[in-house]
Amino acid sequence: MRARTEIVSTLGFLERNLSLVKRYLGWEIVFMTYNIVNALTIGFIGVTQGKQFVMYLTIGALIWGFLSVLFHEISESVAWERWEGTIEYTFMAPIHRFTQLFGSCLFAIVYGLIRTVLILLAVALFLGLSLKGADLGAAFVVLVVSGLSFIGLGLVAAILPLMSTEKGAQATHIMEAVILLVSGVYYDVSVLPKWLQPLSAFSPATYSLRALRGALLEGQSLAELWPTVLLLLAIGVLLIPLGLIAFNQAEIYAKRTGKLKRNG
């Protein structure tokens, strides 16, 4: 009975966020248009270098778009409820915190996938991209396990707005910017200054992009990509429980200091 209630509650978060997307439809269209144009402009940079480079850049734009949606939706779910003023109601509802966070993750995955597919279609139409020779199955598996590691990162980042309203939200943006810089989204990490390169090893996006480019550009199979897939899986398996434990501790801290409340 309790398990059923928790599942229904998870769907509640999905349903609520979909309702919000519908209500903010104008903004959704604006953001979608911006993202398509952004991916196209990045793709056009590579046109003079040949199709392969266009694909290289486009994969970076698409995957970064997907992973950053996951990261944003989860890490900012607390900050966002604080601004809306609903944080106290959500936190005093009789559901487990895992259910609440899993509901946010589920929405982020659905939303991120839909957005990525739409951008992919638009970009393919404009740039005439071909996926001939790509191992799509391997790419899909890499995308799924990459999602897990980014959900874990999002959960870890979600504690920041819980501990400090504004500074927390600022810190999650900085965290995202650093991941963008060091993960080789639009370039190989070898071009980074030597002192910055070690940081790329700590970003799961580095491995995601490397593996996805391998599957889509070089047709690498799952067997060839297995070590990277395993590494991504391990990062996800480690970060998700770590994120949940950290979130629980941050919630206790917020309850002791009176920070579990709306803004204003």
Partner: protein
């Protein structure tokens, strides 16, 4: 059976250097409507937030129907619901979309939630045709009625009303007060009501606690409080018991904030 039992609760906020609650000790039996009156910043909302499992006291304990609010928050959450002074909603969503979300969190079937909330809203004079409009387009009074419906359709056995009528227009205020009065007559729900409004406390509450500077000054039935201090109204009780004017205490609290 006691619905609420608080023992020696103390709470202070380091950052603001404020003592929010001082040695709060009281019991509310099941079915009682217990009022807490006090100026802004006197600790009313802090106490409600502790009972709502959103705040952990520095010392002392609070139980709701024997469940400790810190040790067994989930058990407490299943028994309570709350209305705060601000109708906290996703304002872009309609009343129904907000309530449907709450229904999912509390495991109430959608259809049942819709029927119950419409019945509650109808009894407070909320026009049914506005149920599907974004909340940002509804008046403050209407939003507060939706907040009351949200707190009740989950069938709580303890209802925490934190200044539910503050800032409402006179008509909405009366409709909300009538509804609470009816609820008290028709059900055995336990209600904890915080308010600034002395007349509201006197009409709706079985017993009243006067709070100032985080501490309870007096707890009793309204009539007994007036008799004890030899005055005719609760504001005068406040003045006699604290030695201060109501406005003066509010000003102090604002200065602290």
């Amino acid at each position: 059976m006691n619905a609420i039992h608080c023992r020696n609760i103390n709470k202070h906020f380091k950052k603001k250097k404020v003592i929010a609650l001082k040695e709060i000790e009281f019991t509310v039996p099941k079915g009682e409507t217990f009022g807490i009156i006090g100026p802004n910043g006197s600790g009313k909302s802090t106490l409600v937030r502790i009972l709502s499992t959103l705040l952990i006291p520095d010392t002392g304990s609070a139980t709701v129907f024997t469940h400790d609010v810190v040790k067994s928050p989930m058990a407490v959450r299943r028994m309570i619901n709350r209305v705060s002074v601000d109708a906290a909603f996703f304002k872009k969503l309609s009343a129904w979309e907000n309530l449907r979300y709450a229904a999912r969190l509390y495991g109430v079937p959608k259809q049942q939630a819709r029927e119950r909330t419409l019945a509650i809203l109808d009894s407070m004079g909320f026009p049914k045709k506005r149920f599907d409009e974004p909340l940002e387009e509804l008046s403050r009074g209407m939003q507060q009625k939706v907040a009351i419906a949200r707190s009740l359709f989950t069938s709580p056995i303890l209802l925490l009303l934190d200044e539910p009528t503050t800032g409402l227009d006179p008509r909405s205020k009366r409709e909300v007060q009538d509804f609470i009065f009816g609820l008290k007559r028709q059900t055995d729900i336990t209600v904890l009501l915080t308010t600034h409004d002395m007349a509201e406390a006197e009409t709706l509450c079985d017993r009243i606690a006067i709070i100032n500077g985080g501490g309870f000054i007096a707890v009793d039935k309204a009539e007994r409080l007036k008799d004890r201090f030899g005055v005719n109204d609760l504001e005068a009780v406040f003045m006699r018991s604290t030695g201060r004017e109501w406005e003066e205490s509010e000003q102090d609290a604002e200065d602290r904030d």
